[in-house]
Amino acid sequence: MSELTVHLWAGLRRFTGGLEVVTVEASSIGKMLDALVEAYPGLGPIFEAGISVAVDGEIINGGRHRPLAPSNEIYLMQRIKGG
Amino acid sequence: MSKIHVTTVVNGDEVEFLADPRETLLDCLRDHLGLTGSKEGCGTGDCGACSVTVDGVLVSSCLMLGVEAQGKRIATIEGMANGEELHPLQRQFVEHAALQCGFCTPGILVAAKALLEKNPDPTETEVRYWLAGNLCRCTGYDKIIRAVMDAASEMRGAA
């Protein structure tokens, strides 16, 4: 387990006690999301509605298995859709 | 509600069908004769996907009743190639990538053929205005116009 720095978006601050950047212990995207919901239960419905995770600039959909390390830059984003 | 017996010539073949007088020629081609190459994109004569010729005149088959086809000569996309040999327009469309989804393609080919029969050497503007009644949403028309111009040029050369 390692500590990850996760950038949320400003609209989520009301679920995290005002924080926009949070740290969680996790080793993959899935575990990170789970850890975030555990720490901040208000994020649960937001994540269920659809979430993408940008890791080092690559926007990832549906990659719970993707490993994460403390060196990764991590941004949560609304789920990216396309036409 | 009685149906009307219609005898007509489609792509050189004499055919017969029973039409409800409310059915369009397009309905009859597609549903009674199995000629589904002509498409319905709008049903109001605004998209050209159902283009056919009737006695040599380009029309929207959605704006003509099936019963009006009695005794006429109709040409559809299915009759455009000569056996295995594609019409130059058909071949140029494939070579120019002038189709993406291909749904408007039969109507545009039929319309373009009617143009080149009337005017073998059209300008780009003439092609654009002649085809203004054929909507294409995929291509932005660029490659379609080029394909028609090149087919015209090829046909003039071959003549």
Partner: protein
């Protein structure tokens, strides 16, 4: 739905008068079929007029005018070199109706009887002083084109009346006509405003004029004040200003999805100016 193919206008008139429910005549069908498809008009009786002899003909009348069969398509009209030479404005109005495909079917009479104030072929006919021949239960009569439309979607025709021909007067010497409309797209559109002008010149001076506007009132409208502005002039700036003012004054349009009343009125004036120049140069025999 009953479907009839009468072989004479008298028969067509009788069948229409006898029919119960909703009756429609079928010539080009480019409006009727659209209405049937959308369910806005579901006729009980449809009478196809195209089997009547002469409906496909364009003929020169003994006085030098023209008789146009009710089933003559826009494409056939445009292909008729002599008619185009005489009445280019009438023909170019019809040729603006719909696509090449629609041109293969659509007719002047259909465009007229559909009753649209925006009908592109009607201002040209009105400016040309054309009339229609009507076969009715009491016989045949002739009526000016401008008397046929009664309002959007309505005509002055009675049950049993069927238009049996269009009559365009002789062009005569030193005459010219033109029609333009405004649409947001180059093609495939309904006029937001339209204007047709027919005039005659003696040298550089306009001696006769008729000005008709479309899509700016409940029906296509003849504008005598606009014609008066032209007559006696050499189409100088004063005459043009007076024409534009008169045309705009005659406008009584609505705001709708196709344009605001203000826009329609403005553009009708612009079109009148442009059309006057074209008709004038055609009358003078200048190259177009």
């Amino acid at each position: 739905m009953d479907f009839h193919t009468p072989s004479s206008f008298e028969d067509a008139s009788k069948r229409a008068a006898e029919a119960t429910g909703l009756t429609r005549f079928l010539a080009g069908g480019t409006d009727v079929l659209v209405q049937m498809r959308s369910g806005t008009v579901l006729p009980d009786t449809l009478i196809d007029l195209k089997h009547i002899p002469g409906t496909q003909d364009i003929t020169r009348t003994p006085d030098g005018g023209w008789r146009i069969g009710i089933a003559v398509s826009g494409a056939r009209l445009g292909d008729h070199a002599d008619l185009v030479a005489d009445w280019p404005g009438v023909v170019e109005g019809m040729e603006l109706v719909g696509s090449t495909q629609v041109q293969g079917r659509a007719t002047l009479v259909g465009n007229l009887c559909n009753g649209s104030p925006a009908a592109d072929s009607v201002p040209g006919l009105v400016a040309a002083q054309a009339s229609v021949e009507i076969t009715g239960l009491t016989g045949v009569r002739t009526v000016p084109v401008e008397d046929i439309p009664a309002g959007p979607g309505k005509t002055t025709l009675s049950p049993g009346d069927v238009i049996s021909g269009i009559l365009i007067p002789p062009r005569g010497a030193h005459g010219g006509d033109a029609y333009q409309r405004f649409t947001p797209r180059t093609e495939m559109d309904i006029a937001v405003a339209g204007c047709a002008i027919s005039l005659r010149v003696d040298g550089d001076t306009i001696t006769e004029a008729r000005v008709a506007v479309g899509a700016v009132a409940p029906t296509v409208r003849l504008v005598p004040d606009a014609a008066a502005a032209l007559i006696g002039s050499t189409l100088d700036d004063t005459a043009i200003d007076a024409l534009v003012t008169a045309v705009r004054a005659a406008c009584n349009p609505i705001d709708d999805k196709r344009g605001t009343a203000e826009f329609r009125t403005d553009v009708a004036g612009v079109l009148a100016k442009r059309v006057a120049h074209i008709a004038y140069s055609r009358a003078k025999g200048d190259a177009q």
